[in-house]
Symmetry: C2
Subunit: 422 residues, 2 copies
């Protein structure tokens, strides 16, 4: 066994010999500088250096994907490879911020590379001991929302900005009346002067409570508490005191240390919005695969994480969306360490139409299925919009064709007519 | 004047008409969804919507820089433009995390674009009232370090990892003896079990104090306190209690909320390491220009920020390095609001040789000039290494040729011989 290590797998692109390039990455991220130094003994290198564990060449590219890379004399090929590097855990201890500085620090701009992308991480169970992980995850979220055996049908308060607390509460009333399971603030609506968080909570929660008394189920509302730390904790407490059951945070705005501090304080599920993910991922040669990125946030303790949706309004392909969602549900550690499974959140251009493919490709109903216009702009109104989503998932799970199922389900029929050509 | 607004300028790349693409970005980041909703009145749009302020077309590109973009029928050109968007401050209030969710949220993956890069930000003075900004900046750092009229000559403890606290202290002793002004931990060395922060502080500070009694100047040591929040604040207090004068944080590992919480607690200069900057910037069509990115951290309150160095070991060009350094020194707000100028930190492959160009291109000595091998591997030893850097800056500032100046300065001569061919 030996000392525990953590591993990172990259897609690299380089005009240098692959073994040399991989060694440069490992060197830079452990003991390296541009010249070997007096204190750098062989024994120190052996004990502390990162190690290249595996190099698997994949197809080359005709030209460098990113500018600024070097090219050795005579090199006429830009090679690509999947490279796994490992580090002794004892170098950093189980500290997520220092993990990030190690596996995703000064390496993306190394001259040896015209591409570096972090594909995956493999963390030893020490991280599950040092961090709390998700407090609610899939099962806890279902229990709080009172929804079993199907996705949580969700929506986003729209317009993104501009509604007052009273207008928000009126919309929530309509949504609860319509049978929604989950509502979230838009990521652009947090605590602005036009709709302060505390006022919004005060306006919304009595509405949710009133419907909960009627139905026996409390609609889960993810209040966007993204802010500086003191404000964020205060907002959390406001939501908790008002009987709210979820808080939302923009991960990239907040950062790892802030999220971690919130998690250790929180008594509510943390709904993690990934806005900004595009700048971390859209260049295929650079940045992060979701598989690597989401692991860090799960260890820190989020409960729900956005994965985009099929046929979304963004540039992401369906296969990538499903791959992301699968990673949220896959156990992070082998038993007896916890699995840390969390709810993937599907959203962006979602309506009834994507349910069958989502279920077929994901193979699970453990997800939040969030529709904006797909519910609120349904021609039969919000209740009909919610019904259309539930019907679409009934059809999906029971393996029936959506159009056939719509023959006996009017709301689904209307949805297909309204959005089907979109 | 009207209500205060904040502005973001982007480089966009699109096959759609520029005005339509810019409007899509503004819409997505304020009131938009994929279909106009019942509550979305004209008055609400007018009051809350983001506004396209300017569109300046620049040269087109032959093919899309990033995958996944749409292309309208018949479009045969991929246009590029600098686009400025503004938002009413009242939408979010002066909150940095919510600023980021707005100007750098769900927009980099919009289908309209094959490239979106945030070039610059223009923030109203309300941000300087809501946030403390740099506590020490250029003047405070100089006062603490006792260095005026020239750059702080700095170095990095290398090897990056593997030295014990006692070995680190021994190296610090040599460096102080050699006349160094500034020392920093490597970003890979924070609080690992082989060299715990508290032990390192306990070993290093008496050495620094001993030399301070001899010289009257206390060498500034930036202890890397990157960690979860509680640990980070505890580490800060440990450094402060031991008489240390600087703490270092990896910005991207920590995040905005964590950094901001540290700043409000801190009584020491915050040395900000930008490791990970490559994944935010290396694709020219995506992510951030340093000009935009550094402003957010300055408002949050860092005092020193890394900018790479001339002829560095990374892929960044010299012009970009200097542009970054200039932004650190440029006032962020017009008087009477504070300027928030901070120290740019030059590092990566630095030695005496880059001093003249650095001074010529930057036009200032307000910087930290950090050399690793450029000092520690000097053939005459550390003191000679430090001397060579000071001599190079003397030559630079007095406008003398480096080789000519070396004729009467042996340490500089040795440096030119040692590193000059590198």
């Amino acid at each position: 066994m030996g000392e525990p290590r953590f591993r990172a797998t990259y897609l690299i692109e380089t005009a240098y010999p692959l073994a040399d390039a991989a060694a440069a990455l490992a060197g830079e991220q452990s003991t390296g500088t541009f010249i070997r130094l007096p204190g750098e003994t062989d024994e120190l290198l052996e004990r502390h250096a990162a190690r290249v564990e595996a190099i698997t060449e994949v197809e080359p590219v005709p030209t460098p994907s990113l500018p600024g890379a070097g090219r050795p004399k005579g090199a006429d090929l830009v090679r690509r490879a999947r490279v796994t590097i490992s580090w002794p855990l004892a170098t950093i201890g189980p500290s997520l911020p220092n993990l990030m500085a190690t596996v995703a620090g000064n390496l993306f701009e190394l001259k040896q590379f015209s591409g570096v992308r972090l594909l995956d991480l493999d963390l030893p169970p020490a991280f599950a001991e040092a961090y709390p992980g998700p407090q609610f995850g899939v099962a806890g979220t279902r229990a709080l929302a009172g929804v079993e055996g199907r996705p949580l049908v969700g929506t986003i308060i729209k317009p993104s900005v501009g509604l007052s607390p009273a207008e928000t509460a009126a919309l929530v009333d309509t949504l609860c009346e319509g049978g929604i399971d989950f509502i979230k603030d838009d990521e652009l609506q947090a605590n602005g002067p036009h709709c302060p968080l505390a006022d919004r909570v005060r306006a919304v929660m009595p509405v949710i409570d009133r419907h909960a008394q009627r139905t026996g189920r409390k609609v889960m509302y993810a209040f966007n508490i993204t802010d500086d730390l003191d404000a964020m904790l205060r907002h959390h407490d406001t939501v908790l005191a008002a009987g709210g059951t979820c808080v939302m945070v923009s991960l990239n705005s907040c950062g790892l240390v802030g999220l971690s501090a919130l998690r250790r304080h929180s008594r509510l599920p943390i709904h993690a919005h990934r806005n900004g993910w595009g700048y971390l991922s859209r260049s295929p040669a650079l940045g992060f695969e979701y598989a690597a990125w989401q692991k860090v946030w799960r260890v820190a303790g989020v409960d729900h994480m956005h994965v985009n949706g099929l046929r979304n309004k963004f540039s992401e392909l369906d296969a990538s969306v499903i791959a992301s969602a699968r990673t949220c549900l896959a156990p992070m550690f082998a038993p007896p360490a916890p699995g840390f499974a969390i709810m993937p959140v599907f959203s962006s251009g979602q309506w009834a139409g994507q349910a069958p493919d989502t279920f077929r490709m994901l193979g699970s109903v453990d997800l939040i299925y969030a529709c904006g216009g797909g519910i609120v702009a349904h021609p039969g109104g919000v209740a009909a919009g919610v019904a259309s989503i539930r019907q679409a998932w009934e059809a999906a799970v029971s393996g029936q064709d959506l159009h056939a199922y719509a023959e006996t389900h009017a709301e689904l029929r209307q949805a297909l007519d309204q959005y089907g050509a979109a």
